[in-house]
Subunit: 601 residues, 2 copies
């Protein structure tokens, strides 16, 4: 085993030198999952920051198909890396705090063994003889690197797209070697659409007359036309339609560089031509085939149960993020992962980041204020450290659109009393996690929140809570029957369109359900409508009729009837006068402005 | 000029014979818009049905990029056509009723002059010498065909995708030669994303070593690899992600035919390979380049004003349809056309058809019950014929989710009285067009409806009304200031989330606005809440609190105050007791269950 500074060599024909890269050689033979083997494997990697004395601050970054070990600049004179926005001092993956390792992947062409490496058995590049590899093989090589570096347990494994597939493979193969798992913009397997694009791209390379069955290294030119076509297709799929319009609508007929013939009629033609050419200079066609194939063969299954079984051994906490305009790895695929992890009670935080940047969003600065902040908050809460409450949020009630509160939440005290310690709780419309934080301090576990507001989700993550971004109107299908001891819906039912569905779902998912809501039968409301003929307002219903987030108005009597009609068991019924700060025991429907019901089926 | 049965010949190398096609030759030279010219032009076309004695039942069908003159079978033994689902006896484009003409387009390879036709000046196929053509040139040739057939005025011009571009060009060049214009799944110009895919496809052909600069006809093989790649890319873009998943997720690893090497690992690989091969057999690569280029050069502008100016001379009635899952020609592009036409007061009906089939939806049977029915209803109402009320709908109140009525609409009588004859009216949430039909009979014009329910829109079309599918919560940006004498929002405001926006928009768009709503201050409501402590219900609020489409509850007093705060002028205020069927003149906020306000800014 050797460990030396990496230099550009014959084995990396298409790559420029990476100044700060290191290389290690693992003698083989190394067996591969699809049956092949490699006599030796070189791994090129870069590191940032320092491993601390407890050796618990190492983060492995897994790059996507066209990335490499250079995820960030090492010093001001260094070239920027592919994830410059996220990795560095003070950045979301803070190299002042964490020891970051970023290796080039097996099958690539930037220093780790791939099709353009010299096969020691023949003295020539592998070319088409390079064996079929899988995401698992890529991860296995990186596991060898971690052993070599003496890192037994990673703080986190992070990666987007195909890098996300590697994160998933890590969790399956080495379920106890990372505290946190952060797959971004990824999937249990690629969509049929993405697979189709990959196939067309590969065929363009394979059918290029300069491909020569993959042994083109000695020829005067390689399959550059095919590789450029594949790259151009890929490039289109990485961008959202909106992002393309933003960049190319205004100057559609103004070519950006002197290109050839037809393409020069359209700005986007010259742009694509340039992207294709640039890629051909730095990437190897055999690597492109090898790696897209590895990605396309990655498959955790198509059902929740199948994916859940694959991930069942994982001991990691999970942060999963998707991007709303990503059509290559659409949000519903990340949600498949979330659902599968929840099916075996894994700890998961999930956010669909609102973005107009498409699949590339996780590499760009545009949405960093959300995906970066969430990643930072999640990382800071790994290792079970006591976490400071997020300074700017403490004491401030959450800003969820469903919240009707501007003052204190009297109902929390009562809800806390209703929930015994050590029970599990799902909080629907959890906002910034106020109630969950109180429950966490009391030792309730597991605790899961559901919230729609992206900022509130970041606040939850800062508090070390697990929260899922979701619209309650889409139901609770991701949770299984009786998954929680308690399901709480506090002051949110009045803002839900499909009341029957959410209540039925709660009763299915929770052994006990706690619903709190403003009582429309409250004296003040009756007076306003009954006496004054006006839409009721009060301390709890403080919006105007035309701008309220609340759309369902019902009284304690109405809700009683609702439960009776559906044979929902009402275990307890607490009526509150929040103005007086007291429980109401007489004529509740008239005297209480708020009610708390404890239900079960 | 000759007119003969079309036979397969050297000039259509890649096409199979079309049994029922006819051909006509136009002697030139014909000048083309981009500067080239053609010495003569052959046009191949097929016809269905008979031209009636008044010569007012001719429909021109414009095909999309890979189509041809054979849109439907001529008899049971004939091959099915590309629009078999829509064209034929009893079908939406009913050949028992209409005389249908479907010509192959200029630049194609199925009988109309194109790059693979013999250039009479050289005796060889045009190949790369075929001049650049535009959509306007394609239309010009079809105009010559209409003259040849003696058809001065078409009942309608219909086409989807690139066929829709032809419909638009017809409306610009010959604004008085068609009564109806029906562009489907089309756009003012292609998106940057679609343009990018086209460019990659063209480049695959141009870079194919067998392309030989376009003069490959004499060679042993043409640019089949490049054309197959272009077709495969195109094919992916015609399908929605959902449709691909439906077809290829379950059997991902089961190849559908014995294909080559890698592709055979995935079912979708064999499918794409098959699509590519099939296309190469029947289509000419030069035609593909010529036609995609014509489509990419089609450009009505990027602003509403620009597009409006281009379409301003049109005298046609318009039916525009988009398909919700079409990402190649997304619905917002059809809406750009709608908005531009409305800007110059054209008559337009628009529907975004809910579909999971992507761009191909307009060719498939899946959504025919809506796009076909709407087209049929629209066609039946062209030529200003007296139209029978739709049988199945007469007397039945519309099923719009915003309707709260199960019986009669008392407010209609009053609203009719408030609207003078001969004024223009926009009816928001118009349902099946009951009020608009009454206004139409009275002679009000123009009349436009807005509705979200697809079925209700078909009902409107059957009544000969112009209606736009739109969610009122997205506002009225497509209408200009004071575009209508009256804007009506009858019994819908209580179901609108953004009340302030819709009211402001109405006041901007209409000189007078009429709003009718259930009065929450009605005695019965007050009793239910004030005395019984329950969510009010009554004849007009007959839903339960948990399943009502109504989300805004307000009284006459509330709405008075709302108007006063915004300095909205209230011209008239009618209070009704719908139970008694009478107007209320005393203590309206207590005694009326419904109110009608007439407003202006």
């Amino acid at each position: 085993m050797s460990d030396e500074f990496f230099n550009s060599s014959d084995s990396v024909r298409t790559s420029a030198p990476l100044k700060h890269a290191r290389q290690v050689r693992f003698e083989g033979p190394v067996r591969l999952r699809e049956g092949g083997e490699l006599p030796e494997i070189d791994v090129t990697y870069e590191t940032y920051g320092e491993l601390n004395s407890k050796e618990d601050n190492a983060i492995l970054i897994c790059h996507a198909i066209s990335g490499d070990s250079h995820c960030a600049a090492h010093d001001p004179d260094d070239d920027p890396g592919w994830w410059e926005v996220a990795v560095g001092p003070g950045k979301p993956i803070d190299t002042d705090r964490y020891f970051v390792i970023c290796p080039n992947i097996l099958g690539g062409c930037r220093g780790t063994t791939g099709p353009n490496s010299i096969n020691p058995e023949t003295g020539r590049p592998y070319g088409a003889d390079f064996p079929t590899i899988t995401i698992d093989d890529i991860v296995e090589v990186h596991r060898m690197l971690m052993d070599h570096l003496g890192i037994e347990k990673l703080l986190a494994v992070v990666g987007g797209s195909m890098g996300g597939h590697q994160v998933l493979s890590w969790a399956i193969r080495y379920p106890d070697r990372a505290v946190g798992a952060i797959p971004l913009a990824t999937s249990p397997r690629v969509t049929s659409q993405a697979l189709a694009f990959d196939i067309v791209g590969r065929n363009a390379i394979l059918e290029d007359p300069n491909f020569h069955g993959g042994q083109y290294y000695a020829a005067s030119s390689g399959p550059t036309t095919g590789l450029a076509i594949a790259r151009m297709i890929g490039h289109i799929t990485y961008l959202s339609r909106e992002a393309m319009a933003r960049n190319f609508e205004a100057d559609r007929y103004q070519p950006r560089s002197g290109s050839t013939d037809f393409e020069s009629r359209f700005s986007i033609g010259t742009y694509l031509g340039y992207q294709g050419e640039k890629f051909v200079e730095r990437f190897d066609a055999n690597s492109y085939i090898t790696l897209t194939k590895a990605m396309d063969l990655f498959d955790l299954g198509t059902t929740r149960q199948a994916v859940a079984e694959r991930l069942s051994a994982s001991q990691a906490r999970w942060l999963i993020m998707s991007f709303s305009s990503d059509w290559l790895f659409p949000p519903e695929q990340s949600e498949q992962l979330v659902d599968a992890l929840l099916a075996t009670d894994k700890r998961v935080t999930y956010s669909e980041v609102e973005s107009s940047c498409g699949h590339d969003a996780f590499l760009l600065p545009d949405d960093l204020d959300r995906y970066g902040e969430l990643m930072k908050a999640f990382l800071a809460n790994l290792n079970g450290k006591k976490t400071a409450e997020p300074q700017e949020e403490v004491g401030r009630p959450h800003a969820s659109p469903t919240s009707i509160f501007h003052t204190q939440r009297l109902d929390y005290d009562h809800i806390l009393e209703l929930i015994p310690p050590a029970t599990s709780v799902l909080d629907l419309g959890c906002g910034g996690g106020e109630l969950l934080s109180l429950l966490k301090r009391r030792g309730n576990s597991p605790l899961v929140g559901v919230e729609l507001d992206e900022r509130a989700i970041i606040t939850c993550a800062r508090r070390g809570l697990d929260v899922l971004r979701s619209d309650l109107n889409t139901g609770l299908d991701r949770f299984s029957n009786s998954q929680f001891d308690f399901v709480v819906l506090s002051h949110t039912l009045q803002a839900v369109r499909d009341v029957e569905r959410i209540v039925e779902d709660m009763l299915r998912v929770g052994r006990r359900c706690i619903v709190s809501f403003p009582n429309f039968g409250y004296r003040r409301h009756r007076e306003m409508l009954g006496r004054d003929g006006r839409a009721p307002e009060s301390g709890l219903l403080h919006y105007k009729w035309y701008n309220s987030p609340n759309i369902r108005f019902f009284s304690i009597v109405d809700f009683d009837e609702f439960c009776a009609e559906r044979e929902i068991e009402v275990h307890q019924r607490i009526a509150l006068d929040t103005q007086a700060g007291a429980e109401v025991r007489e004529d509740e429907n008239l005297n209480a402005d708020m009610a708390i019901f404890v239900l079960s089926r």
